[in-house]
């Protein structure tokens, strides 16, 4: 073992600083957060915290607001992942099409720009667009003689409104991953399928889509993690409302954290962390198994 390490000493020497940084700035805060979740809030940040076992977890799991928030977060994540990946894949296929070759760069830029736009600035603009008293969306609907869109102030429409804003911000990133994968695919397979008499749908479904598995896995895992942690859009656009309709776990934990209820807040964060890990591993395992078949 020591011989092997010595043999690759240059590699380990180069990797060590980054491994140390990952440990200090990546893993240590997670460990600390989990540790705080087992302490009494008032003593959590002091030099001698009082440990209360799973008491904070018991409080959190008995809290109907948390349970509702958890269900809401999972539902929203499923919707947002499906909508973002479907939209991104559709746009990637369109942009990859030879018919759009001339405007391809413009479309790529247009769809990727929101990704590099500061999220707070983008969501402030979306809040303004959805505003029911002076927002352009409702003004346009009114001009067209259509009923007003409830936007952020109706429990029936707020999830859609938030989802649209998040789609605008994130879909360009997923699209870029899909485009990279599309560029790497083996086009000879499509020609072979065409010669064998496959139609366009069959080529897409049986030949192109299976080759996109790496991009699908990466995007699926990344999007799942991303939307489980939905936070900024809520802070900027809805503050968890109306009537808790967008009170997702991250925001609820933040509210408790802000009240100094560190134990419960970090217990929620730890539960969310566990869900993220389980879902991510599950997604990898599922797609690996599908790949093996």
């Amino acid at each position: 073992m020591i011989d092997r390490v010595w043999q690759h000493r240059v590699f380990y020497a180069l990797v060590l600083p980054f491994a140390a940084l990952t440990g200090v700035f990546g893993l240590w805060p997670i460990v600390l957060s989990i540790q705080v979740s087992f302490t009494q809030s008032a003593t959590a940040l002091g030099s001698s915290p009082v440990y209360v076992g799973f008491a904070n977890y018991a409080v959190v799991l008995a809290d109907p607001i948390f349970l509702a928030s958890l269900t809401r977060t999972l539902t929203y994540t499923a919707l947002a992942v499906a909508a973002n990946l479907a939209f991104a894949l559709g746009m990637a296929v369109l942009i990859d099409s030879p018919r759009l070759a001339r405007g391809s760069m413009l479309f790529r830029l247009a769809l990727f720009l929101p990704v590099v736009t500061p999220d707070v600035a983008g969501y402030v603009v979306w809040r303004w667009l959805f505003d029911r008293s002076f927002g352009p969306i409702n003004a346009a609907l009114e001009l067209a003689g259509l009923p007003a869109f409830g936007g952020l102030s109706s429990t029936h429409t707020v999830t859609t409104a938030v989802l649209i804003a998040e789609l605008w911000h994130h879909a360009g990133f997923y699209m870029t991953i899909f485009l990279a994968n599309l560029a790497m695919r083996d086009k000879a397979l499509e020609e072979a399928a065409q010669i064998d008499g496959a139609n366009a749908w069959q080529i897409w479904w049986r030949v192109i889509l299976p080759q996109l598995r790496p991009a699908i896995v990466v995007n699926l895992v990344y999007a799942t993690v991303q939307f489980l942690k939905t936070f900024t859009v809520v802070v900027v656009m809805t503050k968890g409302g109306p009537a808790d309709s967008t009170n997702f776990i991250s925001y609820y934990a933040y509210q408790l954290f802000d009240q100094g209820r560190y134990g419960e807040a970090t217990a929620m964060a730890s539960i969310l962390f566990a869900i993220v890990i389980v879902l991510s591993l599950g997604a990898f395992r599922l797609t690996d198994r599908a790949g093996a078949r």
Partner: protein, 427 residues
């Protein structure tokens, strides 16, 4: 030799430069913005006349950040010397940390304190501990855009019926004269737990009632006829009356101020601390008038609401606790109080000169109308914040899907709050 002399001079200069840094500096965290920073700067300069070498540095945080920062600083022994805020906010700090110093002995050492009444001192005390020295009374009046009132030909409304009539005109009669239907009767807020209940508090206490949700005996009050009337009308303000912007359900302080200062809301809360800023040309330019909250019944007096006391507190782990307590006492002195009145708009002393203030500032400084104070249920019922949060959630559910008849909704809410209060009291 020349080099040695140069080095000697440089070292002496460095030492002299370092000397003031070793003098004591008091740090105070508050949420009063620029006005507060100016006040503490002036009070600190006055304090330094009796304590040479002492400087006071104040830092203003947005209210929600102030909570988190103070709690974590006290809990990690990195507390500032002093903290300053509303009484109920300091209660929350004490509840979370149990390390806010008892200032009873400090108050006992203040020679001139006759201006502090029993109510003031009761408000400053939480669980037998004086957690703040009260230095500002928080007054909140009902405000109107003066030019809008003139435009729609109405006097300052007195009763709730007057308010409804004027609010409808503000909404429908283009009071700002820009030719667009972009104005609202009122600017309120609702998004976060304290936002909505704070607005309700103002209408409840301002109309002469004593309790918003629960009385000292633990009885839920919202179903009692006089209370139910105010609550129902308040909820209709957000729903069927359409007096507020449609997105108000997501509005917190920031958005409410945008509606007020952006010239879209005609009626609003005016806090004594708002007046100086709103007198400025860049804001409302003094185009507002303050008065008592509306009457909901002819047999009840209306009032301007005292939303408690703002005061200064000293964390037990304050780095300069003795000096910090001295400065806290100094804030009750005439110079600091005069500065507080001029720069923040409030004080507690009765011997201050108010002649230089604007008429709108004088309305508060002279206490020109009957004053009614909050009931501070959190000082009696320790579970109140949780009960209030549940009340807020229930009301927001109602506002999100307004029922045809609010009376059964209010009865149902009262029943749920009663059950929750009993459960919380048992625990």
């Amino acid at each position: 030799m020349g080099i040695a002399r140069t080095l000697g001079v440089a070292m002496t200069a460095a030492l002299l430069t370092a000397l003031p840094a070793s003098a004591q500096q008091l740090t105070i965290w508050h949420d009063l913005g620029d006005n507060g920073v100016a006040w503490f700067e002036r009070a600190g300069a006055e304090f330094a006349k009796t304590r040479p070498g002492v400087t006071v540095r104040s830092v203003s945080y947005p209210t929600d950040q102030w909570f988190g920062r103070v709690i974590s600083a006290i809990n990690t022994n990195t507390a500032p010397d002093l903290i300053f805020n509303n009484y109920e906010r300091v209660i929350r700090i004490q509840s979370q940390t149990n390390r806010v110093a008892d200032l009873r002995s400090a108050l006992a050492e203040v020679a001139d304190k006759s201006f502090l009444g029993e109510d003031d001192l009761r408000v400053a005390t939480f669980r037998d501990r004086m957690i703040i020295l009260p230095v500002q009374r928080v007054q909140m009046a009902f405000g109107m855009r003066k030019s809008w009132l003139d435009k729609v030909g109405e006097p300052f409304p007195d009763t709730w019926e007057d308010v409804k009539r004027v609010a409808a005109k503000f909404r429908d009669n283009d009071p700002d004269g820009n030719g667009r239907a972009d104005t609202f009767g009122m600017a309120l807020q609702a998004a976060r737990p304290r936002d909505l209940i704070h607005m309700l508090d103002l209408f409840v206490f301002g109309s002469g009632l004593r309790h918003t949700l629960i009385d000292p005996a633990g009885q839920i009050t919202i179903e009692q006829p006089a209370h139910a009337q105010v609550l129902e009308e308040f909820l209709k303000t957000y729903s069927e009356y359409r007096f507020v912007a449609p997105d108000t359900i997501n509005h917190s302080f920031t958005e409410m101020y945008q509606v007020i200062q952006g010239g879209r809301g005609g009626m609003f809360r005016v806090g004594d601390w708002n007046v100086r800023g709103w007198d400025a040309p860049a804001s409302l330019g003094g185009d507002f008038v303050s008065g008592p909250w509306p009457k909901f019944a002819a047999n009840r007096d209306n009032a301007v609401v005292i939303g408690g006391m703002r005061g200064v507190a000293v964390p037990e782990n304050s780095p300069n606790r003795v000096l910090a307590t001295e400065f806290a006492k100094f804030l009750l002195g005439k110079e600091a109080q005069q500065a507080s009145l001029e720069l923040v708009g409030a004080g507690v002393r009765k011997d201050l000169n108010v002649d230089a203030l604007s008429p709108r500032q004088q309305y508060f400084a002279r206490a020109q109308h009957r004053l009614v104070a909050y009931d501070f249920p959190e000082s009696i019922h320790t579970f109140y914040p949780e009960l209030e949060a549940a009340f807020h959630r229930k009301l927001l559910q109602g506002l999100a899907a307004p029922p045809r008849d609010w009376k059964p909704f209010i009865a149902e809410t009262a029943r749920e709050m009663r059950e929750l209060a009993q459960r919380l009291a048992r625990n």
